[in-house]
Amino acid sequence: MKKFQDYTFEDFVNDRSFVKWVLNPSPATNHFWYGFIERYPEKKDDIRIASKIITSSASENNYLSDKEVDELWVRIRKTSGSHRHNYRIIAYTSIAATFLLLLGFGLWYFEFRDKVPRFVDYKQIQIPEIIDNQVQLVLSDDSKIYLDDNESTLMYRNDGKLQTNVQEISVKEPEAYVKGKDKDLKIAMNQIIVPNGKRSSIVFSDGTKLWLNSGSRAIYPVNFAGNRREIFLEGEAFLEVASDKTMPFIVKTDIMEVQVLGTSFNIKVYPDEQEASVVLVEGVVNVKAGRGKEKQMLPDQLLSFSSVTGMTEIKENVNILEHIGWKYGWLLCNSESLGSVFTKLSRYYNVNIEVDNPDIRSFKINGKLDLKEELNEVMRAVSIAGSFAYTIENDKVLISGKSKRKQNNI
């Protein structure tokens, strides 16, 4: 390696660390280079010439404005065919359906208008016990359907039938309202419970798609009727809401409420976690968290709400894939603490993860974990990155060992 004191001006120009100092000086690099010039004053000229060339090479920036970036993106989507068309088709069929409904049921609706319930008290709806760690679907008549698949899919078709990938169910639930025990009308609701170790996705009759992560549950009407589409959520979900300007879509949770017109976002409100969050992929949503005012979110923003402090924070330009990887069956870690990784793995695989040295939880790792692999494979990858040892016993993972380095890659 050639030493700096033997450098020609051209060597300086080609030296990464020198260029970095010229373009981006820091107290440390200033200290080094000024000290070097003092010790080797004969290099002063070469350094001066090299710096001049480097700084002169800095050219003016030409940038597109945010608006121009967005407009160009719209053109790219349309031409590349990545523009989704299914929303448009859904909108046409739902308009047709609504029209027919009005014709047929007009009189009926107006007769019962005052008796139609508008608000649902979600807290009154019982949470059934988890049996054999299976996904449970509770229908409006309180009957239960069990799905044993790790990744189940449910589809509410326009003809009122419910289809699942696990088994063929032709449950007909075409009525938006059912008669309750006291003979008054209630909105017909279904409840789905997804325990740890399972994931589920639902397609609603309006085309909205809902992916539920482990340890979550959702309560939703069988048919969206009235002037809004409202569902209740606990845990973590990713939604692609079908566009419908006449019926805003509202996600209600214990501590926050998200209102959308047609958009894609990830929402996380686990009852055992202090922090709740929403990550917006596309579209616009309004979020009302805790007792705060309603906040509007734009794409690539992350809104986090702390139930402890009651404060809401919005972060710009987040890497969305880090937050929705679970939907595809992987976890993308970007300087993520092992503690956070363990929480996610424990839910995903339905195992307890115990750590003997709490310092291990603050160790940070980078990389991608494929959650479709067996737990053992995933733990092996994480343990290499995290420099720890582990054993798996029944449903428990025991972590041991000290971490030395501050950060590592999977």
Binding site: F9, V13, I49, K52, S57, E60, W73, I76, N366
Partner: protein, 182 residues
């Protein structure tokens, strides 16, 4: 100078590119947002024309998405995109010029150099502007985009020695000028 917030760890490049290859539209959008202005800044220096630069960027991205299944994996998305844009811009410029002139066209590279605020009007700048286009481009990619030589080779589709020679020639001429500035 360069927007530091646009730097990303390369391991996520591998993941995101693979997602794109599988048709993940969110990955596609993410790649676009992170690179569009870097590409615009680079492309504009060839064309000095907003419309042509935007059109070329559009074609690069449309192509990528349409051919996503045939893309090979990469760990450096920025490099791939720079190379693709450069090729596309050259094609486009030659196509447009050919309708007017039939000669062999050399594509120019015209960065508008910033005035060095400490030296006032820097005569070195004037000389930079008179360098041949490929020398200017090497300087831009090296100092502005902070690319390694092997990356510059890929973007400009030249071998290592040729790129080093370009840089060497540029440095020599600039040095003469800089010395005269004393």
């Amino acid at each position: 100078m360069k927007n530091k917030a646009q730097e990303n760890i390369h391991s996520s490049d591998i993941v995101i590119w693979n997602e794109l290859r599988q048709g993940n539209e969110i990955a596609f959008r993410d790649i676009y947002k992170r690179h569009v202005n870097l590409l615009y800044n680079y492309g504009f220096k060839f064309t000095s024309d907003k419309q042509i630069t935007e059109d070329c960027i559009q074609e690069v991205f449309v192509d990528i998405f349409r051919n996503r299944k045939n893309l090979s994996p990469t760990d450096n998305i920025k490099l791939y995109l720079f190379k693709a844009l450069r090729r596309r811009i050259f094609k486009e410029i030659k196509k447009r010029k050919i309708t007017l002139i039939q000669d062999d066209i050399e594509v120019s590279f015209e960065p508008a150099y910033m005035e060095n605020e400490f030296d006032g009007v820097n005569k070195l700048l004037k000389y930079l502007q008179h360098l041949p286009p490929r020398q200017k481009e090497v300087i831009f990619l090296r100092f502005y985009e902070e690319m390694e030589y092997k990356e510059i080779c890929q973007v400009m589709d030249m071998n290592y020695q040729s790129v080093r020679n370009l840089m060497h020639r540029a440095m020599q001429s600039l040095r003469e000028k800089a010395e005269r500035e004393k």
